[in-house]
Every structure is written in C-alpha cells, then in structure tokens.
Symmetry: D2
Subunit: 145 residues, 4 copies
C-alpha cells in the first residue's frame, strides 16, 4: 500500500474534471474506503426530478475506484473495468452520499461494493447499490493516477 494513499486520491480526484462540473466533493478517505458527496442540483435530474441514475453511478464509480486506488502501489493507476448498479429508490433529498468499499484487492483486479444514500434533514436512506471491478494499471503512458 502507498503510505501517501490519501494525498494521491485527493490529487487524482482534483483532476477528475467531471467531479467539479457536477459539484461532487471528496469526503472521508481510508484504506479501502472512500466517500464522495453530491449536493442535489436540479441540473442533474432525469424527467421525474430525481438525480439521474447515471450521475448516481458516476459518484459511486469514483468512490469505488478511489477506494481501490488507496490500496494500490504508488506507481499504479486505476481504471474501471465494469460496474453494475441497482437503483433502489428515487435519488432525491439535500445530497447524495456515495461510499465505495473494497471487498477484495488482488494484484491486478479489485472488487468493490458501492452504496449511495439520499441525505435529507439529518437522515439518510439507501438509494443505490453498486458492485464494481477495478484494474491496477502499471506502466501505461496514457493513464496516470
């Protein structure tokens, strides 16, 4: 594990332009677990006024990817191979909290679980569940961090 796991996640997140574009904020970073919070904005909704499933997936995928990234060696980059998401309830409320947790870290492949919660007036309820596969990439010039 890279002892600078927290700073490398912060540095990479800062380069994920889409996070700034949608207003997502990096939260807690621990080995194998990362949180991202997304304040509700009407600009991110689908036709019923809920946060679009793909935007929920966007923050969950980043939370999972960075959860995996914390456990990777310093020279590695992280790439999403695939993910699957179940939408459990409408993503409404004041903000969305995405938690990405490593369930198994291998040399090349890391499996993660993601959970998204809608936060409203101090309470939170589950709105989505993800299962994702991340890849440790070494020595590829076109990907960094």
């Amino acid at each position: 594990m890279d002892p600078a796991y927290e700073s490398k996640v912060r540095e990479s997140f800062a380069r994920q332009a889409v996070m700034g574009e949608i207003g997502a904020v990096l939260g807690r970073i621990e080995p194998g677990e990362v949180e991202i919070e997304l304040p509700y904005r009407a600009e991110l909704t689908q036709q019923h006024g809920f946060i679009h499933a793909g935007i929920v997936a966007t923050v969950l995928d980043s939370a999972c990817g960075y959860g995996a990234f914390t456990l990777m060696p310093a020279s590695a980059s992280v790439l999403s191979i695939e993910f699957k998401i179940n939408l459990l309830a409408p993503a409404t409320g004041d903000s969305l909290l995405a938690v990405g947790t490593v369930i198994r870290a291998g040399r090349t492949i890391t499996a993660c679980r993601g959970e998204a919660f809608a936060r409203s007036e101090g309470r939170q309820r589950p709105v989505a569940a993800m299962q994702a596969t991340m890849m440790t990439v070494l020595g590829r010039a076109d990907v960094k961090g």
Copy 2:
C-alpha cells in the same frame, strides 16, 4: 405500442435536465431503439482525460430507457431498475454515440442492450457495452414520462 412514441420520447428527453447540462443530443428514435450523441467536452472527463465511465453510463442508460419507452403504452412511465456496463476502451474522440436497443419487452420488465462508440474523423469504435433492465410504471403519481 404508443403511436406517438417518438414525440413522447422527445418530450421526456427535454425534461431530463442532465442531458442539457452535459450537452447530450437525442438522435434517431425507432420502435425499440434510440440513439443519443454526446460531443466530447473536457468538463466530463476523469483523471486521464477520457469521458468518465459514469457519464458514458448516463447516456447509455437514457438511450436504453427511451428505447424501452418507445414500446410502452401511452399512459406508462419508464424507470431504470438496474444496469451493468463494461468499459471496453478509453472514451475519447470527437463525440460519443450511445445506442440503446430492446432485447425483450415484457409487460412489466424490459431488457435492453446498450452500445457506446467513440466517433472521430468519420470513424467509430466501440468503447462500452451495457445490459440494462427497465420497468414499465403505471399509475404512480410521482413519475411521469
């Protein structure tokens, strides 16, 4: 099938605020198949400069959902139950084309396949594959279209 399938898709898409926010444009609409195009914008990228996997999923999910919606009765709304996406290659190029196709339409459940292509200088190559499950919703006050 609703004979007004095309106009109802256009009307619903126009209410998906996130489509406007990211710059996605509705393309071809046929019974069981819908296309959405997303011009490349640096604001939508992850840390390596590729379109973020979640944004690719966003347009694919809408293409699949609207593909399913074309085959639903006039009074129905469409909701995403779940989807799974494989990222096949970096989403770079001039634009991203997402094609959502129904593979089985049932009374309540519709299964779809989504394919995303990166377009560049008149050529296109596959960058993502989705398999998604959509739900026909009837008589629910909080969802429309």
Copy 3:
C-alpha cells in the same frame, strides 16, 4: 409478509430439482435472509478443480431468491430477473456457504445481495459476491412458489 415464510421456502426448495442434483442443503431461513450450503464435489468443478462459477451462482441465486421470497405475500411466486456475480477467489474447500440477503423489498422488485464463502477446517473465506434482482409474481398460472 407471509407468517408461513419458512415452510413455504422449504417446500419450494424441495421442488428445485437442481438443488438435490448438486447436493445443496437449505440452511438458516430468516425474514429477508436465507442460507444454502453446498458440499464440495469434484463433479461440480471447472478445469482447474474449483467449483464452477455457474454453480456458485446457482446456489447464490437460490439463496437470494428465497431471501426475497420470505418477504413476499403468501400468494406470490418469485422469479429471478437478473443477477451479477464477481468471483473473488477460487471456490475450493470442504463446502460452499451461500448467504442471500434482501437489500430492498418493493412491491414488484426486490434487490438482494449474495455472499459465498468457502469453508474449510472450521474457517471460511469469501469467494464470490452477487447483486441480484428478484420479481414478485402474482396470478401467473405457470409459476408457483
């Protein structure tokens, strides 16, 4: 919820011929959670001597389906809409324990999580993770239980 949830699961499981064929045994049944154990048998393996991923999926799918079934009304049947499984480690050892847990039960759709563990000499380690979608079926003549 059907107060006879346990007996209806036992009765349906007994009719799943494939469970007897592979030697799977129904374990703990609680509202929203069901366990199935599968003793290791060389006849169930793939080319490396591990239990085949599809057989791991078979017991996890049934554990998830019956977990969902415990929370359904007495007149309902359960059907798998879809599932996704990550293989985390070789499925070896004395037996495989599959645990299916409901993460959200809706009127029509129930989302479940499945976890499979390889048991060996009193210890267990995770070998697979599933995320599944089950359907509550009412009034269909060709499916029962």
Copy 4:
C-alpha cells in the same frame, strides 16, 4: 492467437467435470465464439420446471470463457472475473443453446456477450443474455487451460 485454439478448448472443456455432470455438449468453436448445448433434463430445474437460472449461467459462462480462450496465447489460462445475466423467458424446450462471443479482447481483460436460446421442435427463442469479463492468466501454477 494460438493456432491450436480448437483443440485446447476441447481439451479444457473435457476437464470441466460439471459439463459432463449436467450433460452439456461442446458445439461450434471459432476464433472469438463458442457454442455449448444443454439438453433439457428435469434434474436441472427450479421450482417451476424451468432450467435453473444458475445452470443457464453455467453454460453461458463456459461459452463466454472458451470464446475468450480461443483468442489467448498458447501458454495462457482463462478465469471468469465476473458476469451478469438477464433471464428473458422461461428456459424450457428440448435443449438450451449457449453462444459466447468476444466483444473486446485485451491483453489481460476480455469482454464477452453470451446469448442463450431455448430450442424446441426446430425453432429457437432467446431466454437469457449475459455480459461477462474474462481474464488472461499467465504463469500461475494452480490454473491451467
């Protein structure tokens, strides 16, 4: 690509004990595509008399894995990382045909699509769709073929 792709698939399939156990038969083998047929047997069913979803997944996973394996170097082994399956219709009929097709073959990761059809009296209809991720494994002593 290994020029002996067909014989290596046949040899590995013969070592998948579970294929013999359920009565699955290897069919057409081409670069990037493999077929497996499974005659209907009551011993493989779930509680409604349909082939169990997990057994459908078993033959689809092997078809996808061997489809990927045809494109791997001679020294490589193949492992399933994950798969997702949608059950489209009851798996009944005389037999089940599983077709696994590579949609992208990378150095380490291969993405596949699987389609299962129920065959009955000379006709076939789709019953399941899979999307799977396979891994090329080199130099690991515990896996071969």
